[in-house]
Amino acid sequence: MTHRAIKEPTFLILTVLAADSRHGYGIIKDVGRLSSGRVRLRPGTLYRALDRLRADGLVWDDREEIVRSRLRPYYGLTPKGERRLADEAARFCSDAAVALVRLGLGQGESSATEPGGKLCCQPGRRRRLAQLGVRCVSGSIRRGYLAVDGGARDGFDLTAACC
């Protein structure tokens, strides 16, 4: 399934909702926390994204709660949304892996030779990802450190974070 590239704020919204339903303000706070303050979601962006996600059937209105005498809708991830998030996460992982392998950081095979599949690393994950509709191909990325300009360590720990 090929979609247009997902934008990072949308991806983070799906990630936040993957664990638990949230209301708007909760989503904004969690996105800020997950991205370590890098992504500051504005209400306008949030509700535009939620609108599109609901139209695409990835997010649904879970319930409403009264918080401080105001009715707040809580949003949750649909099964389709779960599948989409898994697919996009695997694609991120795969894209990153291709780039890192090509840069000569981390060892493994680039997934560029096997179209349609993604480098998903651990076998334990493959079955669950297959359930979610993500096809995995063989290959692995092991730990690597960033070496630029002939060996200087930059402190990026490329622990195979996906794996």
Partner: protein
């Protein structure tokens, strides 16, 4: 780490150049392979992107060749370009790890 996230076309072009120097046509076909057919760069978009990347100091011209009376210019990544590509890859990995953790997939970092 770069604060702004990279556009997809930029990331793909940098990845295509990550394995060595390439000329325009090579970059386009490599990008198509990497993106599994999803992104087909056209000449205009590619060259305005390459121009942009040269101004930003991420790409440089490697060498020029004349093949069948056509000019072929090869481009390569600069050290800064490699660094930014790696940073973007690290960001993608981190985002993916968080998502896997939240989806309850084994091995991911569960972040609450």
């Amino acid at each position: 780490m770069a604060k702004r996230t990279m556009q997809e076309a930029t990331f793909l072009i940098l990845t295509a150049l990550a394995s060595g120097s390439q000329h325009g046509y090579g970059i386009i076909s490599d990008v198509e392979t990497i993106s599994e057919g999803r992104v087909r760069l056209r000449a205009g978009t590619l060259y305005s992107a390459l121009e942009r990347l040269r101004v930003d100091g991420l790409v440089r011209v490697d060498r020029e060749e004349v093949v069948e009376s056509r000019l072929r210019r090869y481009y390569r990544l600069t050290p800064e370009g490699k660094k930014q590509l790696a940073a973007e890859a690290a960001r993608l990995q981190a985002d993916a790890a968080t998502a896997f953790g939240r989806l309850g997939l084994a091995g991911g970092r569960a972040v609450r």
